[in-house]
């Protein structure tokens, strides 16, 4: 079953993240995720994440597709106006890319090409509206398409951003606009994960909870800087106490993943490395009698 079919069938979803290379060498990237083939349902291909210049996510998505993976093409509003976004979406569909995850994108000055012109012609809600319109057979300008794309559209949600009511309102707009699944920023607390899970379900989409294993105290502090309320003190204390913080952080994430497998609809691993460990964890989940009915 593809990611989209599983989503429709209400199966438990496992996604992970892949960053295109800085250069043309893409084979190593594909080799790196080989252990996850057939285990992770789909791979989000990031769009110059954190505004760092990388290979086009559209090209990388096609390369993944050809290598036997199901990609989720991420597109941001940062670098393309509505003409380019529609063009890329049509191109993606023609290349066989079915899943897209649409978002505003980080600001240009946060990345490694700070002098670039920020575009932001559309915002994330409008980009989702645009993709939906294409699937209905029309361009934004009302012109009819020769061949309409079919997309499984996703959005993102950061439960730690504010003002909370407006974040929820915007999430609702995204879902109304056609987002079928919602991937979240990394969460480190089962209670928050469950609240977000319920919220997204209530609004009518499938929640996929973001998980990012902490490798060190330094990384935890970095995450805390990005999203101060996202990293609980207990996690920081645990890392401080542990002789092997990387293992501690990994086990912490796996515990959380277990909890989400019980109440949730999906998990999104935003990690680099540890693919073997992740592969065996997914095997374990899929074979465990407590969870296997969800897959």
């Amino acid at each position: 079953m593809t990611f989209g079919e599983k989503l429709k069938a209400g199966k438990f979803l496992i996604t992970a993240e892949v960053a295109p290379p800085r250069g043309t060498e893409w084979k190593d990237v594909v080799r790196g995720i080989e252990p996850l083939k057939g285990k992770v349902d789909a791979f989000n291909v990031t769009d110059c994440q954190r505004s760092m210049v990388r290979m086009s996510p559209l090209a990388m998505s096609k390369l993944l597709l050809d290598s036997g993976f199901d990609p989720i093409l991420q597109l941001t509003c940062r670098d393309r106006n509505r003409i380019a976004l529609q063009a890329d979406l049509l191109g993606a569909a023609a290349l066989g890319i079915r899943n897209i995850c649409l978002m505003t994108g980080d600001f240009t000055t946060l990345g490694d090409q700070k002098d670039a012109k920020p575009v932001f012609d559309l915002d994330s809600v409008q980009l989702i509206e645009t993709a939906t319109r294409l699937t209905e057979g029309y361009l934004l300008n009302g012109k009819e398409l020769k061949g309409a794309p079919r997309f499984c559209i996703g959005a993102v949600f950061n439960p730690f951003a504010g003002p909370f009511e407006l974040q929820v309102m915007k999430l609702e707009k995204k879902i109304k606009a056609g987002a079928l699944f919602v991937q979240t920023q990394p969460i480190y607390d089962a209670r928050i994960a469950e609240e977000v899970n319920d919220l997204v379900c209530e609004l009518g989409a499938v929640p996929i909870i973001g998980l990012l294993p902490i490798k060190s105290l330094k990384m935890a502090n970095f995450m805390k800087k990005l999203n101060p309320t996202s990293v609980p003190d207990s996690l920081i204390e645990g890392l401080e106490r542990s002789e092997n913080p990387a293992k501690y952080g990994w086990d912490y994430t796996i515990d959380l993943a277990h909890a989400i497998a019980e109440f949730g609809k999906g998990i999104h691993f935003m990690l680099v490395g540890k693919t073997e460990e992740l592969a065996s964890f997914i095997d374990y989940l899929k074979n465990h009698k407590k969870y296997n009915h969800k897959f």
Binding site: F107, F120, D121, V125, Q126, V156, N158, G162, K173, T229
Partner: protein
């Protein structure tokens, strides 16, 4: 108001190579109000230039250098004055619009002593914040009179991005995320619910420059 910033003295001087007789024009409207190019700054610049041996033949700062009448009126023309005094160059401290208007109407070179920054609001006589980017399609009636187009770096019209953490903007921790202000204001006004509606796509035709406004003749 239009907010400008004086250029570094050295930069101004570097553009004056080969000239001796200088006429300085400030502007009391924008440049003067933000203390970066009114009469006071024009006189200060004059003194420093004189110190380097330049011959400053006149210093004027009309109330609105971007208004042709104010610099070239029937009663009084600063441009003619500059000419009769034999100015070889005009240094303008007016905004980009005013400086261009001068340049359009004189034969000598015009160099600018300021950079035009933005359309802003003034507070305490010394803080100037960008409030409007003249998008040509004003939406602030829907956002509590607070502009997310100019005051959110991404010009987001449907609500905050995921980088809005604890009231600060992801782009610059020194500036507040404007959507917190909009939320607060809309709550106070009892109009919070109206933010639920998806905002229409912006029509960027309305900000294609150069734009113009022509007043209808009144009959």
């Amino acid at each position: 108001m239009v907010v400008v910033k004086l250029k570094a003295f050295e930069e101004i001087v570097s553009k004056l190579k080969g000239f001796r007789k200088i006429f300085i024009l400030g502007c009391e409207l924008g440049s003067g109000r933000c203390k970066n190019g009114g009469l006071k700054e024009a006189l200060e610049l004059s003194e420093r230039l004189k110190g380097l041996g330049f011959n400053v033949v006149g210093v004027k700062s009309p109330g609105g250098t971007c208004i042709l009448e104010r610099i070239d009126g029937r009663e009084r023309s600063l441009l003619k004055e500059a000419k009769t005094k034999g100015s070889e160059v005009i240094v303008s401290l007016a905004c980009g619009a005013g400086t261009q208007l001068i340049a359009e109407n004189v034969d000598v070179p015009v160099i600018t002593g300021v950079t035009t920054l933005f359309i802003g609001a003034e507070r305490e006589g010394r803080i100037f914040n960008e409030y409007c980017i003249a998008c040509g399609d004003c939406i602030i009636s829907d956002t509590g009179g607070i502009c997310p187009v100019a005051r959110c770096p991404k010009s987001l019209v449907n609500g905050p991005c995921g980088g809005a953490i604890e009231g600060q903007c992801e782009v610059d921790k020194e500036i507040p995320c404007i959507w917190y202000k909009i939320a607060e204001r809309m709550k106070k006004l009892g109009a919070f619910k109206s933010l639920c509606e998806s905002a229409p796509f912006k029509d960027y035709r309305k900000s294609v420059y150069p734009r113009r406004l022509i007043l209808e003749e009144k009959s």
